[in-house]
Amino acid sequence: MLTLRNHIQYIFIGVLILLVQSLIFSNINLFSWLNPLIYSLFVFLFPTRNRMSLIIYSFILGLCLDNVLQTGGINAFALTLIAFIREPFWKSLSLIKEDKNSIAIRTKSTHTFFFSILILIFIHHLIIFSIENFNFAKIHYLILKVLLSSVITFSIILLLYSIFRIKIVNGEE
């Protein structure tokens, strides 16, 4: 379970991510439309075995982002969804061990972890772009946008992981 210190820590991280997203990454306008949505990093940073807190925190962060970026609920929807599917997804990739005593194999799990992040980012972008467009007439254009945007977001998150030496979350705690 999370202690009070953990709660304060994650609220602080959430505020930091909100500021970075809204002040820096939402003003990039690469090719006039591409803004990396790095705030999904919050979901990957959150420790495992706290699924309820993760879902609620993600929803609140999403709402705050919607407020600041004026997207009216889209970010909250997408972030809550990936927060919800994170745990079963990681379990299926055996990133989290059901049994507490077993040891996760680090070297192998690093690749799997970043692969899972890529998939989650892709789902996140797909939801956001398809709700925003709400028009599947130009689906190839939509898919291209989603792919390009999620690859760039993924590389930025990878960069952040390596620069700040963020520990990879796994079932060991």
Partner: protein, 275 residues
Amino acid sequence: MSQIIQFIQKGRHFFVFLVLEIIAISLIIGSYYTYTISFLNSTNYISGKLYYFENEFSKHLTLDLENQKLLEENATLRNKISILENINAASENAVQITDSIRYQRYEYIPARIISNSISKKHNYININKGKRDRITQDMAVITHKGVIGITDYTTHKFARVMSLLNKKTKINGNIKSKGVFGTVTWNGEDYRYVQLTDIPKHITLEIKDTVVTDVHSNIFPSGIPIGIIKDFKLKAGSDEYIINVELFENFLKIENVYVVTDFDKIETDSLYVNP
């Protein structure tokens, strides 16, 4: 009974998730398909302040460009003044008639943009003037180059502007050389072009004709430039054109705008309200 409780406990994550997603969906629907203002808008105190402080820092980065723009605007205004002075001097020895017809209809309030976006389908702009500067709903926002948007929500210190680059925005446009009017909307794709629709087929269009705001608009003063015609095609299955209009204003680089107060607004609006 205990089975029900057990069932809920087992799937508690899912139920919380479901409730939150339903809240999010209702917010999305509320923001997209109705014209009401939800509580999720960044004109409120905290985000307004956040953008205000960001702007306090970043406004120094574009001073050169802004100076250049102001110089250009001053030059055009000076040219206009000199023309008007000539006309006045030429006309019958300056007989001034004080008449109630001659009065100022529009007032221009300068404002500064504190946040802007172009990459979404529904873009909004926040400006640093609000109710205390007599800014209300449905006022025109322009620069000297062209139309920017319409104010749609104000707080004490800030106001939110529905940008021209918003799928909900509809304004009356007029092809200057032809005198025909249509509706200017945005299709949500490219921030450099807007679309002029409702122009009937029998009118011959020319590339590079200027599109300005129409006299029929009861928000914008008439003759504010919007852009020039880039290309046009007939709408499939109808006898109207869809015209791509290239905007004069670069929406990526606007910093200073004017909010237009129309002193006749109450009077003109009453014509629409009363049957």
